[in-house]
């Protein structure tokens, strides 16, 4: 159904449904993320419109409100963060890393160990960051929500690997937009 909607209708969905704060439940946070994921991946222009119209911050505010109200468990937060990383990398993260762990990605201590040693974890370096705005959201979630050390460490390591071997990724993350400002810079 989503595939047949026009761009205007997508944006109306964002404005009227997903960001209305009247129904904030624990499940909604994950489903809002998934819905955004499925809608944005339909067309590139929607991704651009999403960024240009500043919907990232609305999206983040919606998630934060739910997090504060419901005190989301770690499992849900990890699902949201993985979804955001998939959005940032156009699913590269899923195919290069997440899929290989067959659902054990939520077991952070073992994943962190394998991230340092496992050969398959080295493939993260080939992750291509196509929408750096979601990296900004991931950083905001990591440092503004009250998360465990392991969670922060894991996502920082993944981002570091993606930046380490790709000048393109590093360059795209260094770009500071007028509307969306990075947490590391302030222009």
């Amino acid at each position: 159904m989503v595939a047949f909607l026009s761009l205007d209708m997508y944006l109306n969905i964002f404005n009227n449904i997903s960001f209305s704060f009247s129904f904030q439940t624990r499940e909604m946070a994950y489903w809002i993320t998934l819905m955004t994921f499925s809608i944005i991946h339909q067309e590139n222009e929607i991704m651009t419109a999403f960024a240009e119209l500043g919907h990232h911050m609305n999206f983040y505010k919606a998630l934060t409100n739910i997090y504060k109200k419901e005190r989301l468990p770690l499992e849900d937060v990890l699902k949201i963060l993985n979804c955001l990383l998939n959005l940032a990398s156009n699913n590269d993260y899923f195919y290069l890393f997440e899929d290989r762990f067959n659902g054990n990605i939520l077991d952070l201590p073992s994943v962190l160990k394998s991230l340092d040693k496992d050969t398959c974890a080295k493939t993260i370096r080939y992750m291509n960051i196509v929408c750096e705005n979601f990296i900004y959201l991931i950083l905001k979630v990591l440092f503004e929500w009250d998360l465990e050390t392991n969670v922060k460490l894991y996502y920082l390591k993944v981002i570091k690997r993606a930046l380490q071997y790709s000048y393109y990724n590093a360059f795209s993350c260094s770009q500071v937009r007028n509307k969306i400002k990075y947490i590391v810079f302030n222009l």
Binding site: K61, K140, F143, E144, L156, A170, S174, N186
Partner: protein
């Protein structure tokens, strides 16, 4: 850099510094460098409140200010930013 100053765990501080270094080695302009050095000021949140308020959500600003004012964390962050980030970026 704000996150670097806020974090108290050394391992995370180091990870943030490495991410910063990876970004800066590719592209750093004068404005970015100036803004990075601005965050080195101890009372950044008071001196550059407009930047700080734009970057940090209202609900967590208080915690950020408290954590950033910690002298030990501040000292570690300064040494990390000059040793791990700026020195590395300039050497590359």
């Amino acid at each position: 850099m704000i996150c670097l100053r806020r974090e108290k765990v050394g391992e995370i501080k180091l990870a943030i510094a490495k991410v910063l270094a990876k970004i800066l080695r590719v592209s750093v302009n004068v404005q970015q460098f100036k803004s990075l050095l601005r965050t080195v000021r101890f009372n950044y949140h008071a001196l550059y409140s407009n930047f700080f308020e734009k970057l940090i959500s209202p609900n967590v600003r208080k915690e950020f200010v408290e954590d950033m004012s910690d002298m030990v964390s501040f000292g570690q962050s300064i040494s990390l930013i000059f040793e791990q980030v700026i020195k590395k970026v300039l050497s590359e």
